[in-house]
């Protein structure tokens, strides 16, 4: 019979306010096998843990139940504490009487009653806990970074500097990501390419980094420490070793119709192209959908002009399979589609553009070679209106419920740059609240207002009506003046909401990383573990985890790198001991369980078994505990209950059910 100690935490007042902890202790002592029960204001504190240690020694406890906060918070803490005092860590169970009880019930009597029941369930379970031992599994000393934007590049550089090999997989023909499309960056207004390109070159030349551009992750299997990843390198139709990047093929290519994605579709590009001048690798790709040679077999001009003989129309996709110890998701973001926002006439008038399109227009390498002009008639705009929160902070199904965080800063940047370069252009910004909370951020915004005379108006815009004379009539409102505003504008820039890259859901499913309804990857803990996914071995870097600007992205990229280095530094990883195990006397060998195992951890062998005196060769299921992750699918498929899950065994769960329904 187990000697169990029950420790009830007040959690300051979080629990004690609505749960009578003394009553829980009193009821605990009535439970079978409970030889010690006490309460303490902060059980997870040093002092609290010393109480547990003392009780273990004094009362020779071999089972601990801590009634406290969620096991996702402090189960590890209490298990370490038990282990330090000579008790197997898997003989500790947590009853969640805070998040699942005290915080959500107001009536003291009701909450206490429930806390007692949850305590009983935990005691009933601990009675049947087995002293498990964590296994070990090897760690492949190599990391994979999905996404080659600033987040991916920074993470890869930091990991590579620590001496581990990193592969970057980038969907586009070149790394650089969203940042390579920006003109200037806030708050220092230095040119985006100037601070990004050196990092790209450093990543390209780093001996520990391999870059796979024009490639996508196709399949991921395995788990932390040994992921097996299939990477599809799409056919470039250009031999990367021979190509010198001279660019003649792009000039001579007759097919100029495809829209240039890099310039947000504002101008066109040739079928064979590199997205931008400083592309890394500086090797073009052929867009199979637009290339006349690949479609009809005629043409082949680029092959003729290429002195290096690098063009190879016969190239096909290639699948590379690689082992990794850790995977970092750095898939970045894109602006949302504005087709549901008819009131801003984004689709109707060419002069209503998004901020990202404005970045390209103001960029010297952009479609207008850096001249600020209207896309409809090419004239310089005299009246520009910026509209904030387009699609952000919308709880209807058209937009996103969250604030995209970076728009107030980049709109202030745009306004300042325009007023500086074209002093006679008036800039008006319609805002709900200006949110510039970073270091030197508010000062930056105030400079736009005070030094550059940008006209900020508090009030959303109701409608943008394109007029017959080509101008745009903006129906706004000035809530502070309580006046409606009808402003004639030459150009309207929408600060569009951002959302994670469209492929992130596919990647999340492959990595079994949890993802929320806005397609942001869920972090293990919003405050305490922001760069790790709950799925061990998967780390988050950049906007895939939530809206953030470049300084935060680089900071998070570094943090993710440190977590990866921490993981790769270990030779052996502790594996979860709560794995499945087959009882050889009950197993029918019917291989139903292998049919449902997602990790292929179950194999079968015929061996001799002594079933109460009957010696027989039987076909027995064997679980490879290194591969098994403990999901339990096999335990329910097994009709005879032969397959059981250690740590969550059939009898333990039945015991919990009985304790709850008593």
């Amino acid at each position: 019979m187990r000697r169990i100690g029950v420790f009830v935490c007040h959690c300051g007042s979080n629990i004690a306010a609505t749960v009578d902890v003394k009553k829980v202790v009193e009821m605990a002592l009535l439970e079978q096998g409970v030889v010690h029960a006490e309460d303490y204001p902060y059980m997870c504190s040093e002092a609290g843990q010393s109480h547990i240690a003392e009780a273990i020694r004094e009362k020779q406890l071999d089972g601990i139940v801590v009634c406290s906060c969620s096991p996702r918070m402090h189960e590890a803490t209490f298990r370490k504490c038990a282990e330090k005092n000579g008790l197997n860590p898997y003989l500790v169970e947590i009853a969640n009487i805070r998040e699942h009880c005290s915080w959500i019930h107001k009536d003291m009597q009701e909450a206490t009653e429930k806390a007692v029941i949850l305590m009983r369930a935990a005691v009933a379970k601990v009675h049947l806990n087995a002293p498990l031992k964590a296994g070990e599994s090897a760690v492949t000393k190599r990391a994979l970074v999905i996404g080659g934007g600033i987040a991916g590049i920074q993470t890869a550089l930091d990991i590579a500097d620590a001496g581990y090999h990193v592969d970057i997989v980038e969907k586009e023909p070149s790394i650089g990501g969203r940042m390579s499309q920006l003109d200037k960056t806030f708050p220092t207004l230095d040119c985006s390419a100037c601070i990004l390109t050196p990092k790209m070159v450093e990543a390209a030349s780093h001996e520990n980094i391999t870059i796979h551009t024009w490639s996508e992750v196709e399949k991921v299997s395995g788990f932390v420490g040994n992921f097996t990843v299939d990477i599809r390198k799409k056919a470039r139709y250009v031999n990367m070793d021979k190509c010198t990047g001279c660019g003649i093929c792009q000039e001579k290519c007759p097919s100029k119709k495809p829209l240039n994605e890099f310039n947000r579709g504002l101008n066109n590009r040739s079928a064979i192209y590199t997205p931008f001048a400083q592309a890394i690798p500086n090797v073009p790709v052929i867009d199979a959908a637009a290339c006349i040679k690949l479609k009809t077999g005629k043409c082949g001009i680029c092959e003729k002009f290429c002195q290096a003989g690098a063009i190879d129309y016969a190239q096909t996709d290639e699948i590379i399979t690689q082992q990794y110890g850790a995977i970092v998701v750095a898939t970045g973001f894109d602006t949302i589609k504005l087709d549901k926002y008819g009131e801003y006439a984004y689709g109707e008038s060419k002069d209503v553009i998004t901020s990202l399109e404005l970045e390209r227009i103001m960029n010297a390498a952009g479609p207008t070679k850096g001249h600020l002009e209207r896309l409809s008639d090419g004239k310089a705009p005299k009246e520009i209106v910026f509209i904030q929160c387009v699609g952000s902070r919308c709880s209807d199904d058209r937009g996103k419920p969250y604030c995209s965080k970076i728009c107030c800063m980049y709109t202030a940047k745009h306004a300042m740059l325009i007023r500086d370069k074209y002093p006679d252009t008036n800039v008006t910004v319609f805002y709900i609240d200006v949110r510039t909370p970073g270091k030197n951020f508010d000062e930056f915004y105030r400079r736009a207002v005070e030094d550059y005379g940008v006209n900020y108006v508090k009030g959303q815009v109701g409608k943008v009506a394109p007029q017959s004379d080509g101008s745009l009539l903006v129906h706004g409102v000035d809530l502070l003046e309580n006046k409606q505003i009808l402003k004639k504008a030459d150009m309207v820039v929408l600060a569009t909401a951002i959302e994670p890259n469209s492929d992130v859901r596919k990647i999340a499913t492959m990595l079994t990383a949890s993802i929320d309804t806005n397609n942001f990857l869920t972090e293990a803990h919003p405050k305490l573990r922001p760069v790790e996914s709950p799925t061990a071995g998967v780390f988050l870097s950049g906007v895939c985890q939530g809206p953030k600007d470049i300084p935060e992205t680089v900071a998070q990229a570094g943090a993710a790198a440190v977590k990866v280095i921490g993981l790769l530094a270990k030779d052996k990883l502790k594996t979860n001991p709560c794995t499945a195990k087959a009882d050889e006397l009950r197993c029918n060998g019917c291989s139903q369980c292998a049919g449902v195992c997602p990790y292929g951890a179950i194999s079968y062998e015929t061996r001799q078994v002594n079933d109460h005196g009957i010696r027989e060769d039987r076909r027995i299921a064997v679980v490879n505990s290194a591969l098994c992750q403990g999901c339990g699918a096999c335990t329910v498929t097994c009709p005879s209950g032969a397959m059981d899950l250690q740590g969550f065994s059939n009898r333990q769960i039945i015991a919990e059910v009985d304790a709850i329904c008593r």
């Binding site: 969620s70 096991p71 996702r72 969640n96 805070r98 998040e99 699942h100 009880c101 915080w103 959500i104 019930h105 107001k106 009536d107 009701e110 909450a111 009653e113 429930k114 029941i117 949850l118 369930a121 859901r505 999340a508 499913t509 079994t512 949890s514 993802i515 929320d516 309804t517 869920t522 709950p534 799925t535 709560c578 449902v596 997602p598 990790y599 992750q629 403990g630 999901c631 339990g632 699918a633 335990t635 329910v636 498929t637 899950l645 969550f648 059939n650 769960i653 039945i654 919990e656 059910v657 009985d658 709850i660 329904c661 008593r662």
Partner: protein, 145 residues
């Protein structure tokens, strides 16, 4: 059998450790109340819940059993909830076939970020079970005190 006013239903909720248990924690930290009759049992994945557990809960006096798991596609073990979905569909269909009130059992997919959904699910489920009164059809039909 008249439903006595102070009758409180017993609800067992099996929550998967990675999504719905975290969703329950979020409901807790956001102080989104739901009736105290709901007691949560943590399981590694929704595919760990055996029909024996559900029937055992009813046998021992539960009035409603709800199974919460990750949204299909988000399962931490990639395919766990797909199997749970098939098993529970067949089990619930059999319980309806036996004439058990369909409000007593339910499956709900709740992600770790959906604290509100978790609380709303529990409130609506308890409401439905309270409407059905104590569990008779899946309990012991012999004389009750």
């Amino acid at each position: 059998m008249p439903v006595t006013e102070n009758w409180k239903p017993t609800i067992v909720a099996f929550c998967c450790n990675w999504c719905s248990y975290a969703g329950a924690d979020l409901a807790g930290s956001s102080r989104l109340a739901y009736p105290a009759d709901v007691k949560i049992i943590k399981v590694p994945c929704s595919c760990r819940v055996n029909p024996m557990f559900i029937l055992r809960a009813f046998e021992k006096g539960a009035d409603g059993v709800i199974l919460c798991g990750c949204h299909p596609g988000d399962c931490h073990y990639s395919t766990g909830n797909y199997y749970a979905r098939r098993r529970m569909t067949l089990l619930f269909s059999m319980l309806d076939y036996l004439g058990v009130e369909d409000g007593r059992t339910r499956v709900e997919w709740v992600s770790a970020a959906e604290g509100v959904k978790f609380s709303e699910t529990m409130n609506s489920f308890v409401e439905k079970v309270r409407g059905l009164g104590p569990n008779v059809r899946l309990g012991d039909l012999r004389c009750r005190n």
